[in-house]
Symmetry: none
Subunit: 226 residues, 2 copies
DNA sequence: ATGATACTCGAACGCCTGTTCTGTGTCAAG
DNA sequence: CTTGACACAGAACAGGCGTTCGAGTATCAT
């Protein structure tokens, strides 16, 4: 039958408690005590706080270290505390295929599996990563940009590049995706490989050239070849 | 008994305490109490623990929330809670110079400024990074390993490499440091550049070849040329 | 020697904190 | 109406915990 009671989901107090714990941990660097939770959530008795904490633990929202002072913590804090952020992995980039670009509406639909975490201390400039996306390089066609099979490139979506930017471009005439340094010259574009021993390629200005994004970071995990 | 004076720097007990706090926070998700620190660091009195904690706070190694249970925490934990860890930046790697390798004794002497944070989710295999160190590449001499000026390479110190490993080697005969893929052949070593368009170099087995470490990761920040 | 400094110990004080127990009121089902 | 699950309050208990104090010991410069 129908219970008008709050038998399902999170009640108002559950949410208030979670919010308070999250804010408290952010402000101070430790967890609140049961009594502190009670005070700030308008609960007069510690047993009631304990009552809700038990429920939140069963529902998996929090973890508790029993008998330990301030042993309450959120299972998945909104921001992973550590100074880093998450970049969605949109797919692969390879010659002969257009690269996927993020749609503007999906901002929280990616899971940890298909995303990359970057420490903010590693980020160039202050692209504090709210629009960035990542691509995995497939094949060795980007090798002239010093990017190899399996590498991860972090891109910032943009249409127009400045001279010297490393960009991901889609050459529809050649049916090819490539990473190059971008230079605009008199009547053509020069796409300069990163490796100085290799020659640049020139694209006429009326040839179609689609800039997909600007590379801000390259990450290579070396573990293969065993 | 022997009581060793240490008026400067960190004494043995200071280090032991820091290590314990770090390990404790990693294992459980909260800080240890003063008594727990005492037990595991062979300090019989809580006042002595408090004594050292005060010093560590003044020297900036820890932070304390007074009057708060378990209100001790490291100012820059080796692993900043969020799922990542810190790799010490030992210096630069460049042709013509030997690369610096970490001494075994410095474990907390590096500051956030000269270290690199890596998300564990980005790490290859399970090198859960307790011996790793980082080097910044200077010059373009590593370009045949697809590593460029300004790149950061993460190395795992090792003397012997397996075939296919990407290693940092010091060729004393040539007075050169280089990154190559390592292959042992009949009577010589083959050092294969990562870029297939470049030819390998061969080192005779009696020529001196010092392997300094195995590359596990390469990070490139692209922000220059503006 | 002597005092200063650095270090160690043990105990006690008193608040903090998680836990538990009893009791009250509400509301829906039987 | 009775019953029982549910939400809540208050109090009390027992141990956890940071803090403080008094006292003792070793090392060193004066």
């Amino acid at each position: 039958m129908m219970m008008v009671r709050k038998s399902k989901g999170l009640g108002e107090r559950h949410q208030k408690i979670i919010e308070f714990i999250d804010g408290y941990q952010r402000k101070f660097k430790h967890s609140p005590s049961i009594r502190e939770i009670g005070e700030h959530c308008d609960i007069s008795s510690t047993s009631v706080v304990n009552y809700y904490l038990d429920q939140l633990e069963k529902s998996g929202h929090i973890e508790r270290d029993r008998k330990i002072s301030r042993g309450v913590r959120l299972t998945s804090p909104a921001m992973p505390v550590g100074d880093m952020f998450r970049v969605p992995m949109m797919g692969v980039i390879q010659a002969g295929e257009p690269i996927p670009v993020p749609s503007n509406t999906d901002f929280n639909s990616f899971t940890p599996e298909d995303s990359v975490e970057i420490a903010t201390s590693l980020m160039p400039t202050k692209e504090k990563g709210k629009e960035l996306f990542a691509l995995k390089v497939q094949g060795e066609s980007m090798i002239d940009a010093m990017v190899n099979d399996g590498d991860i490139v972090i891109l910032k979506p943009t249409q127009d590049a400045r001279n010297g930017d490393m960009v991901a471009v889609w050459l529809s005439d050649r049916n090819e995706t490539t990473l190059k340094f971008f230079f605009k010259e008199k009547d053509k574009y020069r796409l300069q490989p990163a490796n100085p021993t290799m020659k640049p390629i020139y694209i006429d200005k009326n040839e179609s050239l689609e800039i997909k994004g600007k590379v801000v970071m390259v990450i290579r995990k070396v573990e293969r070849y065993n």
